[in-house]
Symmetry: C2
Subunit: 391 residues, 2 copies
């Protein structure tokens, strides 16, 4: 697996159970997965020679992110490396315009969009607000901007990156579906979930999506399986939807384990991480059945930097220390969270708690969606480093 | 954790989620846990200096086996190492006579027993069959012998090890209970399970024990919690019982994650491995609730050496290779098992498949105990290396 973030880290847990010889290519020995795993190679995912020499020891190459450059992927394929997913599929996660063109050509429901070059193009597209998207990448860690005025759009345009515009969809809620597909063309799909975003960051996932009409749920699952097949995805495909009340529009795609599927570790028979390994190794796919009526995942985010460093300077309990050096008080917080609710499952990533950064997640399973959400939020809020809702 | 076997390996999965700085002391880099984990120290658990220098980097020392010599444990404690469980508790897993004396003094139900020195002592104890036990350790990897005649007993006596004799209990079935206890003296107990042994090896665990009377289940749980408290156990305590139909007799104790609790990874809210970490780190204990009505665990055993090496020489699928060098055909077998039953959870330990050796386990969850047992047995039998029931 190229990449050593939390997705690789949680894939390690699945690799332990399957007993597969799993190796990771990481940028730094302090990466989330590199902290814990034995078979770690240091290298740059943008460097053909680094990735190629890592791949030489592997039967299959897969990814915990979509940032390996397209030309590196093509060259690896030419060199005979087995890439799952392959470059032709991954392209649609790296080029949003190509993704929209392809899905539209398939007749699949997307927001209205077009490529733009300047403000006149945006103004010709429609009325404010609009959504500007970087076709690839972005700047300042962002690739999507909701613009309510020409002034806001001009600011984005000033960065001279390739942009597209999409209609602003006044959705009722966001849904997501995770499908898996193997080289044998077996498909599997998890129940539709509801995702709750705040400031562009996923805060919460509710599985299954509460009160979702059965027909609409089946449609979303069918769309995910169809996209996986049409785009020849191997491994996982996450499809994010806008639920407009009237119907579904496809928002984003990802071809790897995804935040919308973290709940599966504790809430489904097969975790998304095991499913991804099974898919890319061409093993038969696992059951996507729920293991509880409702599971809610809440992300644990780093707080503001000032209070985060204050939190980090409080003394650790005598019991032990954590992998994340700045998370010294993790045990004090664990004590509260675990004592308050013995059913909470904690997953920490060993990451420095920078503001807004996902440093872990919690899941809670149960019968009543309101109660389970409340428990998950409360636990995530307790664990949040250095912010008012965590103190 | 001292020891790098499958118990340490599965504890690694829990340590990843909790984000604790978990380290293991292993005898060899090829040990089950050492294959996958980053923080590995090579050393001999019988050597005070090896264990002490490993412990110097740790806040708490715990164990994946009970073989660290008593004098090493005492010296570590004197040196200020925090041992969980401590030497006074561990003694009862290392000296079966001391364990029986202690439990009997507490008035807890045990088989009739006595220390013996020779055949006359055994014949004075009662009629055949009897059970001879090594007070500590044993020979040829065994410590328990059911003897039906003076001749069989003479053979055991010839090895000049310290022995005790116990009455042969004609039990209806075997039960086990797993409890956890923290330095804070918090206790937690899992549902009572039924264990199915064959040739002295655990083959199957059914959780919860089918058809068990509620009063008897509560009694078994209470006994486990009481023993944990009386013996001042920190971490896990596994208590194995004989169910004689008339009542329960305590068979064996273990103070670590135990084979009778592997089902908890997939069948309980908190796995025994996470629970052990929480207990020894003095974190509040996790929920022991079931996550399915029935979960059955079946051990995957290595077959006869002749056919095992034949199995190992069959070609691996192109997809990937396994950690266990002799388990080259794991993918062919995975394909069958996973295709036949997508709900099976496979856990392999990366161990060479020697005859009778536990090299992995499978779990199946569901609603109907007969059907779930059948599925688990079938999966384990498919995965068994190099034996008639695996071919």
């Amino acid at each position: 697996m190229v990449g050593g973030g939390q997705l690789a880290r949680m894939t390690c847990q699945a690799a332990i159970a399957l007993g597969v010889d799993f190796r990771i290519l990481v940028g730094s020995a302090s990466d989330s997965a590199a902290q814990i795993w034995s078979a770690v190679t240091l290298g740059d995912y943008r460097s053909l020679s680094d990735v190629a020499s890592f791949a030489a020891g592997c039967d299959v190459l897969t990814f915990d992110h979509e940032h390996v450059p397209g030309d590196v992927l093509s060259d690896l394929r030419t060199a005979g490396v087995v890439l799952r997913p392959g470059p032709d599929a991954l392209r649609y996660t790296q080029d949003k315009l190509a993704m929209r063109d392809r899905l539209s050509a398939l007749g699949l429901p997307c927001p209205r969009y077009t490529a733009i070059k300047n403000l006149a193009d945006i103004e010709a597209f429609g009325s404010w607000p609009v959504v500007l998207k970087a076709v690839s990448g972005g700047y300042d860690g962002k690739g999507v901007w909701v613009c309510s005025s020409a002034g806001e759009a001009r600011d984005v345009l000033s960065h001279s990156i390739e942009l597209m515009v999409e209609e602003f969809v006044p959705f009722e809620r966001e849904l997501a579906v995770l499908a898996a597909r193997s080289p044998h063309k077996q498909g599997a799909v998890y129940p539709v979930v509801q995702t709750v975003q705040q400031d562009g960051i996923c805060r919460e996932v509710i599985a299954p999506a509460p009160g979702l009409d059965g027909m609409r749920a089946a449609l979303a699952q069918e769309l995910a399986l169809r996209i996986a097949a049409e785009l020849d995805v191997t491994g996982l495909l996450a499809v994010e939807f806008f639920d407009t009340g009237d119907g579904l529009l496809i928002n984003e795609l990802a071809m790897r384990p995804h935040n919308c599927g973290h709940w599966t570790i504790d809430g489904a028979r097969t975790s998304q991480f095991e499913q991804h390994l099974r898919a890319v190794l061409d093993l038969p796919l696992g059951s996507t059945d729920l293991s509880a009526p409702v599971t809610v995942m809440a992300n644990v985010l780093g707080g503001s930097s000032a209070s985060a460093s204050a939190a980090a300077s409080t003394s650790a309990s005598a019991a032990a220390s954590t992998s994340a050096s700045a998370a010294g008080d993790v045990y004090d917080r664990y004590t509260h969270v675990m004592a308050a609710d013995p059913g909470v499952k904690v997953h920490m990533y060993g990451k420095e708690p920078r503001p807004g950064r996902k440093i872990g997640h919690v899941t809670v399973s149960g019968g009543d969606v309101r109660r389970v959400r409340e428990r998950a939020r409360r636990a995530a809020s307790f664990l949040r480093w250095g912010t008012e809702d965590g103190e």
